[in-house]
Symmetry: C3
Subunit: 302 residues, 3 copies
């Protein structure tokens, strides 16, 4: 199982990605999706997975240009990609990074939150929860190689990892800046940030929607290491080697014990959290401000 | 509503301040108290409120000489003053500072805890709880402009704020120093400090009753900024501008979500906490040491 | 009661140390054990207690060569020694240090976890829990004078104290390094570390089994002070004087309120935690790796 085929999972073609994910949760994803393996690389349309069997790791690249917005499809593919790696004993660690220039991920895809039906919002939010639950509790060592801007949901994805290496580029700001858009980071985003930088720094950063440049992100503990831009992957690999020197079983149990209370809090309130999101995002005032924001984005591109 | 009349609320004359506060909780305070508005400034006997409608903020000055002791009356007036600002859409933020030279607040008024009946202790403690609950959960942005000594209850008041600016004067010590007086900071004082400086620093500071000079207070995170004494208000205003740049609704929801668990803990145990206080403070040994302390204070003044 | 006899408690001779400890919990230990007092020093076979009545403190020295492994017997004697000091009003503080050169404590005695019956593992684990519960919640001021290597259970013992002074010797590493041995630090070890160095640093240190040299231990807050090796005790005494300047009653109530939630978590799950330990340690794979490790240790000595 050390060598893998380069296979693109046609996720876009899947009518109901969550039907697939439900299978995935039971370990039946690959069979269900008919994925075969063999050669050097596997992935999906939006997630590129580069295995390094010798090192026991894989590099997972978000590649959904231009800015790796976390759409329902990208979220789904990320979870499936992680699950595949977890089910393959070749891999003990994953470096999560970006294959799109200048951005790690722009965060949740606002188009999923605008002008859709409540059922869509609910499905989307469940996918966001699932991404967090799966990445935050993964038995694999996850190292974020943050090689671009990392706001909002992009920051959340990096916070699920065990370690964060950020490229030393003043444009690569990182933070949960939801309030700047008039929306809010739900309690489990907040919990994750509190666990990372402490209550006081989190309380302030969340209210102000702070986006931190590398030096400041390092100072408050939002990231663990800042390195020159061309050394993000090599630094992530060095850190990974250190983490992989620890016996898996003991490390996994330790991680699980540490993170369980935080994960359980969402699991317990998952449906309420979905309802809250759907009700909040459906408000006229929120829809209007999303519309304004999306139109601005379009004009920028145009 | 941008301009307000200078009105002194005759709180001292009110036979049962909590009857008033109960009205306040229902948004009926002003009607009940017969407060009118109009010109440049409003306030009460002990709390001076200077509105700055253009900036969307008000400066709330504790002015109960000599040391702004948190008596039942001052506590009540602070809560009423805050509530009035919260009910007026002109105001999005409040700078809490002192109008008494050299002291922010000396903390809870020990005379409220000595030689009185249990019912009085209960009423007083409920007022302390109310102050904390209302300030800690205020939807407004609260910035403490700490322009004087800030021990015990004074420190607690500053800790309810969203940000603390401290004057760089070595005499302006800050901390929850209750143990030095032989009394203890209750669990919600402790929780507030833990949320601010972390568990370990709080555990040590609370046991030792540490009063920190400005540089040390900044280092452990008890305050967010230390500035020359004549720049406290201008620094607080600059910080306020930054906080007011965030959409209110998103910021308020974020603050509420972050602080809810801590506030709920007291709400759930409020009556037990009052009983504990009354029973503790009524002990002969505690009364005796308060007596000694109060007599020393008198001699100092005399 | 200021002067004490030098008495060795024949703990090794006790058939059921926990019968004794159960008495201890009810304050009947000394009578039950027939301990008399009088002169300058008391202790047991493995724990030497040097009283300094004038200073109101005692120095408790682990002296179970070569490395102060926390065997069932040493654990029991530590708890009994602490309880004796708690029951004697002469003593308000204890400096916990080592009488064995170069090591504070090597941690839990692995021989107690290998090749024994489940009932033994259960008894041993209950003793580890008891040590933590008694030291973590002691009404006395406990200062750790860490004058040697301080891994795993040794580190835990130091973390129960109110303050840690570490000798500045690069060989004196400190940390909860359980994962390196393929075992895990249970949730209450984790809680104690989180309370000391915060969630993020703890999460990382626990997974990596980090053993920190003095400068790093000081930086993350694992210890409070690093001093030249010959000044550990004098530094601990200076700190103790500061802590003993605080009225006992207020300090004790504050400590109790701060630590109660963490202690209660274990008390509530104590039996489950024992069952988890017995079931984990009884696994063939764990027994095999302990065997390998113990054989290596023997060869080293031989």
């Amino acid at each position: 199982m050390a060598l893998m085929a380069f296979v693109r999972v046609p996720a876009r073609a899947l009518p109901r990605p969550w039907a697939l994910l439900r299978g995935a949760a039971l370990g039946r994803t690959e069979a269900a999706a008919g994925i075969s393996r063999g050669a050097r690389r596997f992935g999906s349309q939006r997630v590129l997975v580069e295995p390094d069997a010798a090192a026991g790791l894989a590099v997972m690249k978000l590649k959904d240009p231009p800015v790796n917005s976390l759409s329902l499809e990208l979220l789904t593919e990320l979870v499936i990609s992680l699950e595949k790696l977890e089910n393959d004993k070749t891999f003990r660690g994953v470096i999560v990074t970006s294959g799109s220039a200048g951005v790690f991920s722009s965060g949740l895809d606002l188009r999923e939150m605008y002008g859709k039906k409540p059922a869509h919002y609910a499905e989307f939010w469940k996918a966001v929860q699932e991404l967090w639950l799966r990445f935050y509790q993964s038995p694999l060592v996850l190292i974020a190689g943050i090689n671009g801007a990392c706001p909002a949901g992009g920051c959340l994805l990096s916070l699920t990892c065990d370690y964060r290496v950020l490229a030393d580029n003043p444009k690569y700001l990182i933070g949960l800046n939801e309030t700047l858009l008039g929306i809010i980071a739900p309690f489990w985003f907040q919990d994750t940030l509190v666990n990372t930088i402490g209550y006081r720094a989190a309380e302030q950063a969340l209210q102000l929607g702070s986006l931190l440049p590398p030096a400041e992100a390092l100072r408050v503990g939002m990231v663990d290491q800042v390195v020159p831009e061309d050394q993000v992957l090599s630094a992530a690999r060095s850190v990974m080697a250190k983490w992989l020197a620890i016996p898996d079983h003991a490390r996994q149990l330790t991680k699980n014990t540490m993170r369980k209370a935080t994960a359980d809090r969402l699991l317990k309130l998952r449906d309420v959290d979905i309802q809250n999101f759907v009700s909040f995002i459906s408000r006229d005032s929120i829809q209007k401000s999303l519309q304004t924001y999306l139109e601005k984005l379009k004009q920028k591109k145009g």
